[in-house]
Amino acid sequence: MSDNKKTYWKGVEQLTNDPAFVKNAESEFPEFLPINQNEEGGSNRRDFLKLMGFGIAAASLAACEAPVRKAIPYVNKPVDIDPGIPNYYASTYTQGGDYCSIVVKTREGRPIKIEGNDLSKISQGGVNAQVEASVLSLYDNERLREPQKEGSAISWDDLDKEVATKLNSITAQGGQIRIVSNTVLSPTTKKVVEDFTAKHPTTQHVVYDSHPMEGALVANEASFGTRMIPSYHFGKAEVIVSFGADFLGTWLSPVEFTKQYSKTRKLNNGKKTMSRHYQFEGNLSLTGANADYRTPLKPSDEAKAVVALFEALSGKKSSIPNIDKAAADLKKAGNKSLVVSGSNDPAVQMVINGINSMLGSYGTTIDADKPVHYKQGNEKAFDQFVADAKAGRVAAAIFYNCNPLYNTKAGSELKEALSKISLKISTADRPDETAIAMDYIAPDHHFLESWNDANPVMGTYSFSQPAITPIFNTRQAQESLMKWAGVAQPDYYTYLKDSWTSALASAGKTWDHILHDGVIEIDPPAEGETEEDQANPQGVSVSQAIQQINANYKGSGVELSLYQKLGIGDGTQANNPWLQEMPDPITKATWDNYLTVSQAWATENNVQFVEGKSNMAKLTVGGNTITLPIVIQPGQANGSVGLAVGYGRTSAGKVANSVGVDAYPLVNKVNGVSSFDIMIGVSIEVLPETYQVAQTQTHQTYMGRETVIQEATLQEYQKDPGAGRYHAHVATWQEESGETSPGTLSLWKGHKYKNHHWGLAIDLNSCTGCSACHVACQSENNIPVVGRQEVLNRRDMHWIRIDRYYSSDAEAGDLRGLEVAAENPEVTFQPMMCQHCNNAPCETVCPVAATTHSTEGLNQMTYNRCIGTRYCANNCPYKVRRFNWFKYHDNAQFEDINTAMSNDLGKMVLNPDVTVRSRGVMEKCSLCVQRIQYGKLEAKKEGRKVKDGEINVACASACASDAIVFGDMNDQDSKIYNMLKIKDTEKADYLIEKEIGEPRAYHVLDAIGVKPNVSYLTKIRNKDKA
């Protein structure tokens, strides 16, 4: 074997056995490898120190650059707060005498949305625009952060010490103290005032209202012996006659009345009757726009019309249009009729009481046994206060959440008189017109931070609970009053709770229970007198009232009628950009007030009005001169002009200051009480300067297009439920009749919705146009506010709009004529949002598929994918898509306008479930897809299907007239399914989405075949002739 062994050499080196080779032969790497450069093999101490030094420096540098995030996780999570899950708290909205029972949606401890409280028998789940918007006022950057003394900050302790000392010395000297406020609905607050009065006996509580109802209070005092306003039940009335009372918009309790009124306007298979509504007024109000018969009358004639109606009821013929007709209808309806007037004149209200008494309305449509407390102002007391202040008889005045220097006529007088008051305190949340003239401002909490109660109607109580910890160093005004009354540790919560203990015990309810419900009804203690006696006005001296009216109502020249707008109201919430940008339901104007004039007046004075642009006017009333823009308003009574109050604020904040003009100084006195009608001494000069009012709708008529608005009269409807419907047809071989609706012909295969099929049904007959949905949508969906200039550029961002169309007197073919609204037009409101078309034109044209169809019938918008070609918006037949022309959030250009997206405070109102859209993307109504998803997930967690009513979209839930109904059109038990009488049909080639059986239901632009998921019900007017 060894012989055979061959030897192979790896190389010459092995053969020669070179010593250098042998030395390394056995090691793994024979050659030197630069693994360990230093011979010791490993780092030395200096390297370690170098590396450590660098490491520390680098780590600290990196730490410096790390973003500082403000979100801090809970160390101990509160039991009832889950991130991402909203909490709801029942509460109460009060603003002066305005009342609404609400449910506040909070997310992570922040109120972000206000909904109506369904448990309330007054507001019945309805809200209005001001209520919806009030959540943004909570995060108003103009709110005071801490108490103020003459414009600089002061601590609560110092303020209390100084105020208490001064108050005590005033009381000791017998100086007069006044607490001035608007109507206070809270009984417990009144108790606090009483306690205060007990401590400082010279105190008097002076209550005034920016829009007083002194006339009604005085008239009812004469009629019933008590100074009160009765409950009205519009829902029980078959005939409603209103003289200038905008009860659907701004008069007394509009949410409640809208709820009631809309019930009388609903029609379906069972019910074929509706109320008939007459309106006599000067300015075209929201209520007038909804009336079946509307008679434009200038203010001096309006009071005379009340008298005329009174006389017509006893058979005397009247020359005023529609008075005789109204009288006949009223007589026929008997006690199921209701006559109201917006006048503040006791004489007019006396005649109204006479009419209602004659008709027997007391006990049916008017309940004098259940007075309402919305208006408690006493003009005489307030006038006395101003007189006392001027005479130096008042030593101290506390202005409790009111702003009389702005919203009363006596504001300027009072301002001068203030110097004679030695101690002046305001509890305003901001340095408003009154507060800046004070010695001290003791800012109150926002109502969403407060505990309170309210007693809007006799026997009905409502509670407020805080939905957020106070954001600033403010204090509830009640606690301030308690402190100044000498309570060492005032605690209004305990005080409130304690004052309710006995009442709750007797009602068998607990404190937690009422906080959960938000409302409670406690029967008032029975009174001795029988109902019959109480229910009818007694000893009414109508004839005397008529004499007064004939003496007082004499107009000369043009007459001015001041009114409130739905959004801005009396101007208290003027610094709320949502309300400023909410288009007025009638003029569709934003960010301004203006003189509304009739077309006849404009022609006479050579005023042109094109796209909101017209001459300015110089309005002179008495010694006051105002320069303001003009808007031509169809329906404005000839010889009258209108102007909204609530604008022209000087110290409300960046949003409202210098927007519009202040009309309060123009308020008049008639028959000893204030009147918003100025009948004598109004002069208007048309100036050569022009101004453009920012309107969101510049074309006023629907051009006779039956594809858009379909309407009929009640008589026609009673004969044929499909009256007023427009059926387009084209020839086809597919049908036996040879014709079909063009909407049924389609290139597309259609959709099959296996699970849900969401849709909306909108009743044009119930929609009053109140625009609560506008603000609700804005609040729910983080819609930016763009400001006057951008509205002028026609770039408002609202996802839902309410198209307001006037009728025209022109013939069908006269296209020029149809552009001009009638002198006293019929008005139709049409809420318009994304129609969620099944054959959506927007979906096919998007190059990047950013807008697509969901499996549940929604037209979805994917903001992330959108590149902003705007093709979808162009191709939308309903023009509901909105483009982000600029970056609206965190942009200096929109800082003072879009406050909800510009500062850290305002941003707290944003809904975390909805993306804030970036510049350059398209957006539109999503049908509140976040709410749909939430509702579906909740149902899924419980392993069941979604029940009808569990999910509701923001617009539908805000709607006080229940005109918008949302639901699943696949769910046979749903309200929408039954309302539209849906039939499921499948045709051979095409899957037809849904066939609608309700004869009144139609799709806007049905003929173009886009197959919307939003249906409208025809508008029916209760008129004799169309």
Binding site: Y702, V708, R795, V921
Partner: protein, 455 residues
């Protein structure tokens, strides 16, 4: 080579020899920039600078700097886009279709016309980009690229996507066609070049052209193939652009006549633009012998034909609107004629339908000044045609509540100016550094048509 009849009029006048052609054309390239050229360049660059500022502001602030609104989502942007694309039709039409029809008169104008096409398409392409809300994403999201967004695809139903394909294809083919044609001429310049830089640059541009018979053969077959490819594109591009409107549901847009009507309109405006530019070039570069009255007359005849087609289309639209019985459709057309934008409509009618009819008169058709003025008028008219279609249809469509007006801003005008600056800067650079007339091709017709006189 075709045999040309001796009675045919010469296509190139002045008894030019082959050498003259080279001299005449190359003179511009080799000489110093002339005063008019420098002035033109200064004005163009000025316009470009102002325009660039507007483009910057547009991108920095957002599309809101334009006058668009919630109802009118496209106005000057897409008007300008369609207008420039329309102008970009003449070049390829002249080179490709007239090549296939063996229209030799095209030879002295096709080079400049093609250059115009390419620059016009570049200008046109600016607008679909700039009008986007988010250009920084849109420029690549609009392309069907593989991606990691869960393989999110583009929407092949969208006419805008078809535009992307149509325009990019057209641009590519036009560019290649134009460049191939330039190669022999670059070689001529290269061979004549006296300094090193020119030699190097034109050498590179001419791709080593050697003038061999084989090379010429390949050159001609490529030209023919590209002409074949480009021909359907000439028709398809504007057809597809018209689909942006024709496939929509908006009254005034939803019109099946659009494809032929748009193509005719595009040729109409393209020829007008070629005339405008050629008349200036002809004058300043003294090319009267190459671009003769005959050329101008022939082009004017095409303008009469296409202008009349466009006019018939306008009338047909009205007839169909009436015949359809569709209320919104009828209103859209009545509104065009009598509504707030009546002036735009009547400008369009006057410029596009009435004024080209003057070319029936031979005196006007062969008058250079008249042709120049009318060619500009036609392009004003064609701009208004697109404005009328886009803006007047959108501003009053179905729901009267949304009806509104459109008012342009400084930035609308500025971005339009930007494309003018871009176009003329590019065209002037082309005129100076590239041979404006296809020397190689023109030389081929000298023998058959022009030389005979000197013989």
């Amino acid at each position: 080579m075709q045999v040309t009849s001796t009675v045919r009029e010469a296509l190139v006048t002045g008894g030019k020899t082959v050498h003259d052609v080279t001299e005449d054309i190359c003179r511009q390239v080799e000489g110093k920039p002339t005063m008019p050229w420098l002035m033109g360049m200064a004005i163009s660059l000025g316009a470009l600078a102002i325009g660039a500022y507007c483009v910057f502001m547009l991108l920095w602030e957002g599309v809101g700097v334009w006058g668009l609104n919630k109802t009118v989502g496209w106005a000057w942007d897409i008007t300008n886009f369609v207008w420039w694309v329309g102008i970009g039709h003449a070049g390829t039409l002249i080179s490709a279709i007239l090549l296939l029809f063996r229209q030799k008169w095209r030879m002295s104008i096709n080079r400049a016309a093609e250059a115009m096409t390419i620059f016009a398409v570049i200008c046109a392409a600016c607008f679909p980009g700039l009008h986007m809300g988010r250009l920084w994403l849109g420029f690549y999201w609009a392309l069907p690229l593989p991606n990691t967004f869960g393989s999110l695809w583009v929407n092949f139903n969208s006419p805008l996507l078809w535009d992307v394909f149509a325009i990019s294809t057209y641009f590519t083919v036009s560019l290649v066609f134009w460049y191939i044609g330039l190669i022999p001429d670059f070689a001529s310049i290269r061979d004549r070049a006296k300094n090193k830089i020119s030699k190097a640059v034109y050498g590179a541009l001419s791709f080593g052209w050697d003038g061999a018979a084989k090379t010429w053969m390949r050159y001609e077959s490529v030209a023919l193939i590209l002409a074949g490819l480009a021909t359907p594109l000439v028709l398809s591009v504007h057809t597809i652009v018209s689909f942006d409107f024709a496939t929509s549901v908006i009254p005034g847009w939803h019109t099946t006549i659009f494809p032929p009507y748009f193509v005719a309109g595009a040729i109409f405006s393209g020829f007008a633009m070629v005339l405008t530019l050629m008349l200036v070039t002809r004058k300043t570069f003294q090319l009267e012998d190459y671009i003769t009255i005959n050329h101008i007359e022939l082009m004017n005849i095409i303008i009469i034909i296409t202008g009349s087609i466009v006019g018939i289309a306008y009338i047909t639209e009205f007839f169909i609107a009436w015949y359809s019985g569709v209320e919104a459709e009828q209103y859209a057309f009545i509104n065009r004629m009598t509504g707030p934008y009546w002036w735009a409509y009547w400008t369009m009618m006057t410029c596009n339908v009435i004024s080209p009819q003057l070319f029936w008169i031979k005196k006007i058709r062969t008058n250079i000044a008249a042709t120049f003025i009318l060619s500009i008028i036609v392009n004003i008219g064609m701009w208004f045609e697109r404005f009328v279609i886009i803006v007047t249809s959108l501003h009053r469509d179905y729901l009267p509540s949304s009806w509104t007006m459109f008012y342009p801003t400084f930035y609308d005008v500025g971005v339009y100016l930007f494309t003018f600056g871009l176009f003329f800067t590019a065209f002037l650079l082309f005129a100076k550094f590239f041979p404006v007339i296809n020397m190689a091709e023109v030389k081929s017709i000298i023998k058959s048509s022009s030389l005979k006189q000197s013989n």
